[in-house]
Amino acid sequence: MSFYESDNNEVNELETSYGVSREYYKSVKETIEIFDLYYSVTSRENAFLKFNRLKQSWLNDVEFLSSITDICMNASYQEIIGMGPCVVPLILADLKKEPDYWFWALEMLTTENPVQTNDLGDLKKMTDAWLRWGESKGFC
């Protein structure tokens, strides 16, 4: 079963909980698979280059900003998040090299947050928390 296939129970749930009819699901599923294949083939080889290009653009943009909100809502930063989970190992590797405010991106990409509330704002502690998380998952 492909990533976009759903078994009968899941299709039932789509219909009953979210109002997605079987007909709509079938019509969209194939289009999603083609779209995903196109972007995974055209972008996979360039993920490392793309990440570094966007990272440099982000660093240039946010050099003089104090607002974590502005730092993380930056277009290049958001585009890195848009690269999807494949970029998590790249971010963790970068974090290991030089701590920086990748935490919002990591939380969005992984839906997890290993940082303790008391450690918010402490760059080293937040970095260490995510690197420990990465090690526990086998990413770094």
């Binding site: 943009d61 003089f64 104090s66 277009a75 760059l123």
Partner: protein, 146 residues
Amino acid sequence: MHGLDGESLKVSAKFLTNLNKTSEASKSYNCIAWAAGDSARFWWPIGGFWPSNVSRKLVIDSFIDAFATLGYMECGNGDLESGYEKVAIYEKNCVPKHAARQLPNANWTSKLGRNIDIEHTLEELDKIQYISDRYGQVTRFMKRKI
């Protein structure tokens, strides 16, 4: 906005050389932290350090309450007052963006985001287009006894 264009980068490098730099660049703390006297943490209501029991909403009242935990209270101006230390809070489009702390010589000290600390007058910072575009204008002053 994707990246700074070449002109913007030249501007940013140029304005740095004209400023009175008082520290090396650091990502460990930001302007709010520096104004609060903290050079070990990034102060920000969302995702950063924030005083306990102070709202984490990104509004000016949260910043006023945050500085109030350090003994600051609102005052009307940034004039040097004997026996008092002041902070100036900047907003752009009603969103807090920057804070500066007054020095005993009446100048101010600011951490420029993730970059250096500088000593400046409020007017000097206002005149740098690159900075004022990002930080806005001073909207509140606060003071505390020293």
